[in-house]
Every structure is written in structure tokens, then in C-alpha cells.
Amino acid sequence: MNMNWVKVIIAAFFEVFWVIGLKHADNFWTWTGTVIAIIISFYLMIMAGKKLPVGTVYAVFVGLGTAGTVFADIVFFGEPFKLAKVILILVLLAGVIGLKLVTKDNVKEGVES
């Protein structure tokens, strides 16, 4: 596990916070927290794209953020538990692991012109 993948995972973690914030924030402090979470998550995601392919980083960022949000909705906000959700999260995680395995770090072929 190298730093760039850790950045994507932390970025997705903060994405879950701001998605919840956009839905539930109702005063100055919760909105401030939401904005800070947006800035942290985008900053980390953008920096991870420095060494990893941006298309891969963005897909993983969006995917893990979605999985985390669905998980948080079930655990903390009483959304119904469905088998389909669990299967889709497993497919998503398998895809992320696959991307980690096929992605070479620091090599963005053809980018330098």
C-alpha cells in the first residue's frame, strides 16, 4: 500500500462526510465542516492523481465514496439493508483491488511530451 492509494482512500472517507453534510447540514458549523470536508477530499484526490492515472483515481474516489455513503446510510441513518447493496459494494471493492493491482505507480505513459 503506497501513499498515493492511501490518499485516495482518505479522500473517499472525507467524501462520505461531505455527502452526509450536504444532506443534513442545517447550521453554520455543520456547513463549515461540510465545506472543509469537500476541500480536504478534493485536495487529496487531486494530489493522488499526480502519480496515478487520474481516470483511475477519480473512479476509485467516486466508487469508494458511494460505497461508504450507502454503508453510513444503513448503519447511522436507518436506511433499509438490502442484499443488492452488499453485492454491489463487493463488486465495487473487487474492482478497486483490481485497479490497485494493474496500476503501475509513477508511470503515466505518454504524458510527458
Binding site: I46, A59, V111
Partner: protein
């Protein structure tokens, strides 16, 4: 108008993702500004579309256009890998993310 707005939001997201590539290549302020404009406009059009479309559907289509479009532009404009395994795994991640937004 909501559907048109949603497609425009997706296109701005594609643009924003491309600007991340441009930022790392050119390392200038112009790229940062364009990146913020891209994602900012994308969120505004998405918010407008969500006023009349179901949230899960709107999110799913927005993600689908933006993230897959961003990956395609990365391959065309910035030489990202076209390895079939990479494409299959990206499709798995985005397909599952879209599915989750539709069933939630």
C-alpha cells in the same frame, strides 16, 4: 430542462477531471481556476437537475457521464493506459457505484 441540466453537469464534471490532468502537466494557476470552475458548475447544474429528478437517478447519471467520460478523455488526451484489465475494473467500480445510487 432538468435532463439537459443533468447532462451539462456531467460534461462539466468530465471537464473538471481533465483539468486535474492538465494541472499536473502544466502546473499553473489557470488549470486550478478551470478545475474549480468545472467542478463548481457541475455541482450547480446537478443541484438544479435534482430539484425535479429523483436524487438517486440524477446522481447515478451524473457519475456515469463524469467519471467514465473523465477516464475516456484521460486516455485520449493524456495518454492514460488503455489496458483492457484497467477498463474492466473501472467499469466494475463505476457500474457498481451507479447501481448503488439507483437502489438507494
Amino acid at each position: 430542462m432538468a435532463w439537459a441540466s443533468l447532462v451539462i453537469a456531467g460534461l462539466f464534471e468530465m471537464f473538471g477531471v481533465s483539468m486535474i490532468n492538465k494541472l499536473h502537466r502544466d502546473r499553473n494557476l489557470q488549470s486550478v481556476v478551470l478545475l474549480i470552475i468545472g467542478f463548481g458548475a457541475s455541482f450547480l447544474f446537478l443541484a438544479y437537475a435534482m430539484k425535479s429528478l429523483p436524487m438517486g437517478t440524477a446522481y447515478a447519471i451524473w457519475t456515469g457521464i463524469g467519471a467514465s467520460g473523465g477516464a475516456i478523455l484521460g486516455m485520449i488526451l493524456y495518454g492514460e493506459s488503455k489496458d483492457w484489465k484497467r477498463l474492466v475494473f473501472i467499469a466494475m467500480v463505476l457500474g457498481a457505484a451507479i447501481g448503488l445510487k439507483l437502489v438507494s
